[in-house]
């Protein structure tokens, strides 16, 4: 059944962004109203689309160079994309509403909501794209809007630098992504997913080529989903407003990388080598980020590293060739991580933008709703039964246990670390005595902020149960290990939590001092060094080339030369015209010579 609903849900945020940017920049309330209406419209349409089994959207051609390149504008409407539509627009709607409270007094509120709408458009575009060109286009648009949103408070140097870092780092991955797309296009002659799938069999005789293509496409996900070694931008991106951290850097944008991997699984799963690399990259990211998170002091940064770690789990699942497990974790993670960020935002805004956890403490009485919802999110994150995270993480661990035991071991260790740093956060922020003036005077957030928290807390609690989740996506099937793996995971959980409680109860400062972890394994320092030296070297070479060859030779030489000739010729008006006609005649003679005697 053909319907324009998918188009409406895609274009509504775009219209909103256009209206706000062009007409409504001066009226803040109107901008936020337009933006929220657009995202609600998208959400309703998504639900309608989701409810109808056999829906398809009209497709139209965009670029058609006969025989070379054909790019349609078409929308994928399968179970996977429909689930993502509901998820993205739903979480997006909740965060739009929350932003009303969080950004209440912001100067750039209109700009913020305009960019937020544009981001929704781009993200929904990634979800429904039915070919690589559209996917890449929306992919870049997501990168751009996230740049705008992270740098929303651009007058703060840290925010401006973080925005640049996020954009440039993801671009590095996108470069590989683009090359991968081009190689696939060269080999199969098409960029539409549905057309490439049957043609993949032509390539099975070139396993190396397939591996290279799969890994290059994976590069895009490494950038966007902040996997090792391009993970450095995500923690810095926490300089943006907290709703943005929740929306972009927890529930949607970073999940786009995982979603893309699942979408193009038909390419990736053709190469065992690529799958193994992907699985290990995910595993390394998961454990690395969890280790770093144990020594951070900024509440949002801890959550950012936990995001990295959870994304690592999802990529690990993709690498273990189980799309279902990966999407299941993406699904539950979107709820509980958005919840954690929003609850953290509630804490931050009530403490007048204080983000250091050692300046908090004892907030469980001051902010009861925030506390309860935060606990729900935290328990889901560490995988405590019966919260949603338990089911999805368990699915991934069970999978790893079956397919690759070393990965399972590392994954289990990560689960232990996760429990440790999350409980540490919980203990320091919400228990003990308030450790600063603002913490003593804080009070609960307004309803427009706590409302979304409660909705998300419910989803984070219930989202993992089969009766709920099965409506949205295919659940991974567990086999005989059904008892062993969860049991081990719960032991890890208890060990981690217990250790954290023992270490951090009633502390006023950090008892451990692990410089390596505190400095995030010196990644930033290493990259800075690397970039500095390559840049210096390249700049030196190019400066030489520019000064002595381009400037002195090509530009100044030809430019001044012609200018000089022009000035000379202009001095003698008669000579000018005759010279011109002489050249004209000379040209004719030369051409005839060329045509006749060549």
């Amino acid at each position: 059944m053909s319907s324009i609903l998918p188009w409406i849900l895609l274009l509504a945020p775009l219209c909103s962004a256009a209206c706000i940017t062009l007409f409504a920049l001066r009226w803040k309330a109107l901008s936020s109203f337009i933006s929220i209406m657009a995202v609600l419209l998208s959400f309703i349409c998504s639900c309608l689309v989701f409810a109808r089994a056999d829906i398809s959207a009209p497709q139209f051609g965009w670029i058609d160079v006969a025989g070379a390149l054909k790019v349609p504008f078409g929308l994928t409407q399968d179970q996977l994309s429909k689930m993502m539509l509901v998820l993205v627009s739903g979480v997006g709607a909740v965060i739009h509403i929350y932003s009303l409270g969080y950004m209440r007094d912001d100067e750039g509120k209109s700009r913020y909501f305009g960019a937020l709408s544009l981001f929704m458009f781009a993200m929904l575009g990634i979800v429904v794209a039915n070919n690589f060109v559209m996917l890449f286009m929306f992919w870049e648009l997501v990168g751009f809007t996230s740049y705008v949103l992270i740098g929303h408070w651009f007058y703060r140097d840290a925010a401006a630098a973080a925005a640049k870092k996020a954009f440039i780092t993801t671009r590095i991955g996108d470069f590989g992504f683009m090359i991968g797309i081009l190689m696939l296009w060269m080999a199969t002659g098409s960029i539409v997913f549905a057309e490439i799938t049957p043609r993949m069999s032509m390539l099975t005789s070139h396993p190396t080529f397939l591996t290279v293509v799969a890994l290059l496409i994976f590069c895009g996900a490494v950038g966007k989903s902040a996997q090792f070694p391009l993970h450095v931008w995500l923690p810095d991106a926490m300089e943006g407003p907290t709703p943005i951290s929740a929306l972009i850097h927890a529930a949607t944008m970073v999940a786009a990388g995982v979603y893309m991997l699942v979408r193009v699984a038909f390419v990736i799963q053709t190469s065992q080598t690529a799958l193994l690399v992907i699985a290990w990259i995910g595993t390394i990211t998961a454990v690395l980020a969890a280790l770093i998170a144990t020594q951070q002091n900024d509440i949002k940064r801890i959550l950012a590293y936990s995001t990295l770690s959870q994304l690592g789990y999802m990529v690990m699942a993709v690498g273990l060739a189980s799309n279902d497990a990966s999407m299941f974790h993406l699904f539950t993670h979107a709820f509980f991580k958005a919840l954690l960020f929003l609850a953290a935002g509630s804490v931050i805004v009530m403490l007048h933008h204080e983000q250091n956890i050692w300046k908090m403490g004892g907030l469980s009485q001051k902010l009861p709703i925030t506390f309860v919802t935060f606990v729900a999110g935290a328990l889901a994150l560490i995988g405590c039964p019966p919260f949603s995270g338990f089911f999805s993480k368990d699915a991934i661990l069970a999978l790893a246990y079956q397919r690759n035991v070393p990965i399972f071991a590392v994954g289990l260790f990560t689960a232990f670390l996760t429990a440790f740093y999350v409980i540490r956060l919980l203990v320091i922020v919400f228990f003990g005595k308030p450790r600063s003036e603002v913490a003593r005077e804080s009070r609960e957030s307004p309803a427009v902020m706590t409302g979304p928290l409660i909705v998300l807390a419910l989803l984070a609690t219930l989202g993992g149960f089969a009766f709920f989740a099965r409506r949205f996506l295919a659940l991974p099937i567990e086999k005989e290990v059904a008892v062993f793996v969860p049991a081990v995971a719960i032991v890890a959980l208890i060990l981690g939590s217990g250790l954290a409680i023992v270490l951090y109860r009633n502390r006023a400062s950090e008892p451990l001092d692990l410089q390596l972890l505190r400095h995030k394994f010196y990644f930033d320092e290493f990259y800075r060094w690397l970039i500095y030296w390559t840049q210096e070297l390249l700049a030196g070479v190019f400066a030489f080339f520019d000064r002595w060859i381009i400037d002195a030779g090509a530009v100044s030489g030809s430019g001044r030369g012609t200018l000089g000739i022009g000035a000379l010729l202009r001095l003698i008006q008669i000579g000018n015209l005759q010279a011109y006609l002489f050249l004209f005649g000379l040209g004719i003679v030369a051409l005839i010579y060329f045509a006749v005697f060549h």
């Binding site: 670029i63 430019g559 000379l586 040209g587 004719i588 005839i592 045509a595």
Partner: protein
């Protein structure tokens, strides 16, 4: 063939001619009054004469625009296929499409004349502009060498007058003289070439020539004939080394004339050049591949293309006047477009036509911006454009669209045009024989990015100079012209996003 039917098929041309006569009559009658007034109040209030002339200008522009709109309507109603007098006047989807495009370009040129203060006799100017448009349509719709030559002359003679029209400006006269001398020389060569071809084949219809030449090998005399025939068109499209008139004409001529030369004249010349080489000289294609050049017209055009790209781009680097810069970039763009014809066949031709059409639209828009800036600051050097963003963000935005499209930046029309041209050229020959030409073109567009970005830097980064800031002439912003510029910018953007809207139509209209 009754006269009534002839009139029906030539209705478009007839409407434009009638409009030209009406405009001329109005211009003549009202001008006399206007001069009378001016003489009467000799040193008195000059505003009276000024406003009367402005009113005449407005009336004439309106009638000319209306006439063109009606003519476009009649062009839409032409039959799909018809041939008159063995190819003297041919109607195909392609010719109808390009008649419409030429008239649309003339329409925008008419809009530009509205704000041109230096034109003291708008009636005469517009009448000549319309006659030049008739010349364009004859060129586009003829497949017979004599008729093509007549169209060429009608167009040429009108353009000489249009370039030299501003009698108060020495540069305009100089440009007119240069254009005339070059034009008449190249016409002479073309006529000589046509007579040589006629001597070899005994006929002037393109299709028949092609049949006759199919059995002939390339003899020196025939090669001379071909080269000489092509020279007239190389002059019209300003391909190096026959481009030397262009910088002066673009800079010295009144802006609507320059815009018309850069757009309509160029589009029609490419259409007819394509027809001559691809239909008339089809058997003498030759081969322009680097290692295996075979004599024919395609190596000649390839040489012209490469030379134009290099000369145009290099010399443009050193310009500090925007109109001169556009002139040299026009030389380079003529070179790019020729690549499509060198590639040959339907697809190459349609790529060339797509490119030249989008280029013409872009250039009319750019000249529109130049006209508005010139009106405000009385000049068109780079310094007049400095800080345009703070004076008029709209114009600055449109200009950046035009410049980036010329530079070939996605998602604008210029990018797709270049992409289409180069991909066609690469596919034309199984062994990638035209790779060298594409490499030259890519190198050229790399250089060109520099000077287009310089223009944008002047507009967006440079501080507005003091002389401009204190210029008193800020009154009456020409709304109509601004809208026209914005529409053209939107078209450039649209054709970049949805190139199929034009490209598919062109390919379908190809014979």
């Amino acid at each position: 063939m009754s006269y009534l039917e002839l009139l029906k098929l030539a209705s478009t041309e007839a409407v434009v001619v009638v409009t030209a006569l009406v405009v001329l009559a109005i211009g003549l009658t009202t001008r006399r009054e206007a001069t009378g007034v001016t003489v009467a109040t000799a040193q008195g209030d000059q505003n009276v004469g000024g406003s009367s002339s402005a009113r005449t200008n407005a009336i004439c522009s309106f009638i000319a625009a209306l006439g063109l709109a009606i003519a476009i309507g009649t062009a839409l109603m032409l039959p799909r296929k018809a041939t008159l007098f063995s190819g003297m006047l041919v109607i195909t989807p392609l010719t109808s499409l390009f008649k419409i495009i030429c008239m649309a370009l003339a329409f925008f040129a008419v809009l530009l004349t509205k704000s041109e203060k230096s034109l003291r006799h708008p009636g005469e100017y517009l009448a000549i502009l319309l006659l030049a448009t008739v010349g364009l349509m004859l060129l586009v719709s003829s497949e017979e060498l004599l008729m093509i030559f007549i169209g060429l002359e009608l167009l040429g003679l009108s353009l000489y007058v249009m370039v030299a029209f501003d009698k108060t400006d020495v540069r305009s006269a100089e440009a007119g003289l240069k254009y005339f001398l070059f034009g008449s020389t190249s016409s002479a060569f073309t006529l000589f070439g046509i007579s040589l071809i006629y001597g070899m084949s005994g006929i002037t219809s393109l299709a028949a020539i092609s049949e006759k030449l199919a059995t002939v090998s390339v003899q020196p005399l025939l090669a001379v004939g071909i080269v000489m025939t092509l020279i007239g068109f190389a002059f019209k499209i300003a391909a190096a080394p026959f481009h030397l008139w262009a910088p002066d004409a673009y800079q010295g001529a009144p802006i609507p004339s320059a815009a018309f030369i850069a757009s309509g004249s160029k589009v029609a010349s490419f259409v007819v050049l394509g027809k001559i080489v691809l239909v008339g000289f089809a058997p003498l294609h030759g081969d322009a591949a680097w290692h295996a050049m075979v004599a024919g017209w395609s190596p000649v055009l390839a040489a012209l293309a490469a030379l134009s790209i290099l000369v145009g781009n290099f010399v443009a680097l050193a310009q500090s006047n925007l109109r001169r810069l556009l002139a040299y970039s026009a030389v380079a763009h003529a070179g790019y477009t020729l690549i499509g014809l060198v590639a040959g066949d339907r697809e190459g031709f349609s790529a060339a036509l797509f490119y030249t059409t989008t280029y013409a639209i872009t250039l009319v828009g750019a000249f529109g911006v130049v006209a508005l800036v010139r009106r405000e600051t009385a000049g068109d050097d780079f310094s007049n454009f400095s800080g345009l963003i703070s004076r008029s963000p709209m114009l600055a935005g449109c200009m950046s669209i035009f410049m980036l499209s010329l530079a070939g930046i996605p998602p604008l029309a210029g990018f797709f045009g270049k992409f289409y041209l180069f991909s066609v050229a690469l596919r034309a020959d199984a062994g990638h024989g035209l790779l060298w030409l594409v490499a030259v073109a890519l190198f050229g567009s790399l250089i060109s990015l520099y000077y287009y970005l310089i223009v944008l830097k002047v507009i967006f980064v440079d501080e507005p100079s003091l002389a401009i800031a204190s210029s008193p002439d800020h009154l009456s912003p020409d709304l109509l012209q601004r809208i026209a510029v914005a529409v053209l910018a939107a078209v450039v953007l649209f054709l970049g996003l949805m190139p199929d809207a034009l490209a598919a139509g062109l390919l379908a209209a190809m014979p």
